[in-house]
Symmetry: C2
């Protein structure tokens, strides 16, 4: 029997803990029995049972008939949990839900480790400790203190027990049913990753919702989330956007990319749908449960009231959905069917005189041109909403296409709600909410299409290779990194190292124009900050003076000469950076030159590696993309070459051991090609700041 | 008797229209009587009455006792409305609510004008036509077909009848009460402006909510809205964000600033609070009704559950509220009062063991350091929410400070809701909603403080002056505009007009460095588009060649020579523009140089004029502001001089007749001072594109 079967379809359940009234054990047993699961026993020091269930002081003492216990739900005091777990393991229990708190969350990490080692010994898996329990509505199993939710198609996995409980309490009112629920608390053993793996193949679950504050292993999480999201929608609330999250980076792009931005990128790369909070989660889950998948962006709004139609159009515009007007053919078909006073543009305003037929016909006709529709009915006390709802349901069933409804408000709309529900049309209290749901569906459809087949054969084979050793001892200087990039076939600027003013002048002559001089010193990480870069040197005199000045910036013996490069005019400056996230490991970023990145925070980020095509998509998301595409009469830039560079850099952290951060700043982006004009590499063992987990 | 009294406190009401069952007149009479207003008569061709009310075919025939009719509610067919209005006017009726549709909204503009002229004749004011009626809960007056809302402190004025009806229907469930409601439909006579004026002095209204799609007279709207907002909160839904709204502008800044951006600026300048939709309107109205005003940004989050606390902190961070940690003194006070397991940072997590005292004491103590607080309780079936709610209410009453609650979810939280309601603490289904409400309150408090005393004496005196005549015949060329700016004392770049290559060379010599050459031609509005600007000319030969090239760009006779100016290096480029909005008139915009404005849409906009201080605030809102403040080692720019220029330009459209648009692009912003390097002025009578209303 798998742990998942033992946990979600146990033959029998034992509740461990006092069953006296007012005690948690009492609540748990009552909840299980009231929920319809009646193969329950209880274990506690007094062998107290309630409502006639078997009771004993330990598993061994249970009567033979109640020995088919696959799941133990433990709510006894923290000090007793290890012994009870040991006892359960010996009795052949395969899964334990530990409600009891007081472990790693209150610094009792050692006690929690002991639980895990006991579990390993007996091949028993743990949910928790410090969790709110689990639910399987299809098995009538409610092993939780929280409200029993209605049954449905959504599995909800929550790192926070209280938030999980709030979701279950709210489900009835929100009209959302759950297949399974698990609160995994401290995740001593089973974590969100295990649940994602199990739910992928769970036929009773159509949609998975997840609340996380952190994940322990970013790469494994991404693997599990990607595999799940490929077969069913994964909706994620990730809290802690505003926290710094322990990213201590020295590189430019690294420090720009907060921890939350990495989570955002990772979730997107997995094909998960991130939502901001519980309300949006309910809305989007209902959309995914009831509506067919689609990829387009064109939405028809059919309404009986102008104002709410315009508000919906505003919301659609804000999220990038297209409220396009009808083509001539559609206009013709509609004008044949609808009364004259109807507005034959989008939003389609059928006015307060709209009938069942008007709604049905308009939706059916528009959905021949649009990808999805929103049906709004602002009902009044003197209007019967029921037939209008029937019109919407008929259109939904005839077309099989996505229609979200907003039949409002309060009492006057009540008659419509059961009809819509019965007809599988999700209803929302505002049309703006319909917009957000359709947007999530459309984004998801497009993203999945983009992800399919993205994982190139290159990744599969590269991942299997053993990484090459770190190429240097300690931190390399700029010319060392640039030479290494040359060896790897990565584009760099022409340059010469000069260790005297005389050699600097000679070097400059070979470039035949003004040059840039940069100091080389292992002491200095940020050369511009100390005046270690001099631009536009045109004469021998200027070069000599600059050399002398740079040589004096650092103590003798730490000055390793200068790097001379030609001045490059007319280039757009980009920035490409590799950094290491505590949770997700190597992360690749690309942005436009310093000011765009710094002042406008215009940076695209992905968990590395990325393919050339993914790199191009990253670049396309930059707000400054028009600067590369010839805006304001500027020349078109070689986006393909930059995409190639971004992808190549993103692989370096996987090909070589020990690269913590790599910053190419600037990268000159030309009409043809691009080249790194500066490179800074920080080894993994050279991170002076303390990293927190 | 004022029109407002006749409308909202009539002595008696006549319903005009058929009272047969199923007819609108029948519904209106029923609604009035059921709502508790019993001095009702009805006028219809059959003199049909119901429920014993007086009935007649016209006002003259009504029995003497029912002659005190101040308000007529007209629902008879469109063709009869004018006659009925005439009849009502003759009978001394002072206000008419015309529910009937079929006037200007269906191209019957003439018939609507007739109604207005009849009304003027009899000193009678009209609400509508094509409206959903009016409500005064304090007078038990429900002259509407829509749901009767609960009584309360909010007045709601809606351009859309259906949306107004939806709000009334939803009010009970949302827990919001209304003092007055008016749907003004086509606004043939009374418009949103009239209602804003009346509601300012309405003691029964604490908060005003407004739904608009357009306003007819932007300046009068701003005056009325400003005066209202100075004494009570004005919450506005403005729909149609996504519509182009008929702004056909030729200037750069003008075309960047969509119609919605002007509405956004105008509402902000009035001190109104713009919300996105109905849900947010309900939330924010409840906040303003129940919570005291405040201006700070520091929020304490007190919770019994980590997850929802973090989600609230995320939301707060996103809107710029500060979730700062406690100072040492507060930590000390809290650690004396709270159990050890509580988290003494913000969010303050009291854990599931939190008591009434914990909530009360923590809120009281934190509110000594913070400006407002959010109290979150995620309740579970085994926890009694009532005492926790009492703790929150006690803290609210003790401190008198703003506390918003989120006691959730569903059934387990029910016990708390009446306690919070009774105690005047608004409760929201998520803590994120609390955040948005507190943010609206805080923004409002700050904005009002900024607006107070902003209207300088200069504005008052300037406004009274007659504008000066337009200084030119037709469209002036660049040098004409620049010379005019010099006369006005506005900073411009040094320049010389040259009408031959030889003179151009001479002109360049006096600047002693490379120059810029720009063609002068009345044919060309956008010089750069046709290659009419040549930069960085360093030699006589280059100047001569450039002159020849520019002279060939336009037909002979339309080339008026060139303008020569020195190249200015090291300046930050800004853009200052004046344009004319169809609704609000002159609008002033400021942004950073072309790419920032174009690619990043980084532009600040206000309805003109603005004071120097307001101009500075505009500049401060630019995302690129750091570029002016010495970011990346750049030099500090003279923001004061740019503020002065923006303010001065904003006044020009009021001081001179006939200025449609004025674009200064670029304005060079230096370490000391700034100067316009190019100016383009378009007269009002020179607007080739059709403007729509």
């Amino acid at each position: 029997m798998s742990w998942a079967s033992a946990l979600f379809q146990p033959r029998a359940v034992a509740v461990v803990g006092s069953c006296s009234p007012g005690k948690i054990g009492h609540v748990l047993v009552t909840q299980l029995l009231d929920g319809g699961f009646d193969v329950v026993a209880t274990i506690n020091p007094k062998a107290d049972g309630i409502r006639g269930i078997p009771a004993a002081r330990c598993f061994q003492e249970l009567p033979v008939g109640s020995r088919e216990i696959d799941l133990a739900v433990i709510a006894s005091p923290a000090a007793t949990v290890a012994d009870m777990l040991q006892d359960a393991g010996q009795a052949g229990v395969k899964a334990a839900v530990i409600i009891t708190a007081g472990f790693s969350e209150s610094d009792s990490r050692h006690e929690e480790e002991r639980l895990v080692s006991i579990a390993r010994q007996h091949d028993l898996r743990i949910v928790g400790p410090n969790c709110a329990g689990i639910v399987n509505t299809k098995h009538n199993l409610f092993a939780t203190l929280e409200t029993r939710p209605p049954a449905g198609d959504v599995a909800f996995i929550s790192q926070s027990g209280a938030l999980g409980g709030a979701v279950l309490s709210w489900a009835q009112e929100q009209g959302l049913g759950f297949s399974k629920f698990a609160s995994y608390g401290n995740a001593a053993d089973l974590s969100e990753i295990d649940f994602l793996e199990v739910l992928r193949d769970d036929d009773e679950t159509k949609v998975v919702a997840l609340y996380i504050e952190t994940v322990s292993d970013g790469r494994r999480f991404m693997d599990a989330a990607s595999r799940l999201a490929a077969v069913k929608p994964l909706i994620v609330i990730k809290s802690g956007r505003s926290e710094s999250g322990g990213r201590a980076t020295q590189s430019h792009t690294g420090s720009m990319a907060g921890s939350d931005a990495v989570y955002e990128a990772a979730l997107q790369q997995c094909g998960a749908i991130r939502v901001a909070g519980i309300e949006e989660m309910f809305d989007v889950c209902r959309g995914f449960v009831h509506l067919p998948r689609f990829r387009g962006r064109r939405i028809a709004i059919v309404t009986n009231s102008g104002g709410p139609g315009v508000l919906a159009a505003d919301a659609a515009d804000a999220v990038g959905l297209e409220i396009t007007p009808p083509g001539a053919a559609l206009r013709g078909r509609l004008s044949n069917r609808l009364p004259d006073f109807c507005s034959l543009s989008n939003p389609y305003d059928l006015t307060v005189q709209a009938t069942e037929d008007d709604y049905r016909d308009t939706l059916i006709e528009t959905l021949k041109e649009y990808d999805a529709a929103i049906a709004i009915n602002v009902n009044t006390p003197y209007l019967d909403a029921a037939p209008l709802a029937r019109g919407v349901v008929a259109a939904s069933q005839t077309t099989g296409m996505p229609i979200a409804a907003s039949f409002v408000a309060g009492q006057p709309a009540q008659a419509a709600l059961p009809i819509l529900k019965e007809g599988g049309v999700p209803n929302y209290v505002t049309a703006e909410r319909c917009v957000h749901v359709l947007s999530a569906l459309s984004v998801h459809g497009n993203r999945l299409a983009a992800i399919e087949g993205r994982r190139s054969s290159r990744e599969a084979s590269e991942r299997k290779k053993k990484p090459l050793p770190f190429p240097w001892n300690g931190r390399p200087t700029e010319p060392m990194v640039m030479d290494w990039m040359d060896e790897l076939g990565l584009p760099t600027i022409k340059r010469v190292v000069a260790t005297s003013a005389e050699k600097a002048v000679q070097a400059a002559q070979q470039f035949g124009g003004p040059v840039v001089m940069k100091m080389i010193s292992p002491l200095v990480l940020h050369k511009t900050d100390v005046g270690g870069v001099v631009l536009n040197l045109g004469t021998s005199k200027a070069i000599e003076e600059a050399f002398t000045k740079l040589a004096r910036l650092v103590p003798e013996g730490t000055f390793n000469g200068v790097l001379i490069s030609p001045m490059v005019e007319q280039a757009v400056e980009a920035i490409v950076g590799l950094s290491t996230d505590v949770t997700f490991g190597p992360v690749i970023a690309v942005g436009l030159g310093g000011i765009y990145t710094e002042v406008f925070s215009d940076l695209a980020l992905r968990v590395a590696p990325v393919s050339v095509e993914e790199a191009r998509q990253m670049i396309e998301t930059l707000r400054g993309i028009d600067l590369l595409k010839g805006a304001r009469g500027s020349v078109l830039r070689d986006i393909a070459s930059l995409s190639q560079l971004v992808s190549d850099i993103s692989w370096l952290a996987l090909r070589f051991d020990g690269i913590e951060e790599l910053d190419l700043n600037p990268v000159f982006l030309l009409e043809r090609g691009c080249m790194a004009a500066d490179a800074r590499l920080i080894p993994s063992d050279d991170v002076p700041m303390q990293r927190s987990r």
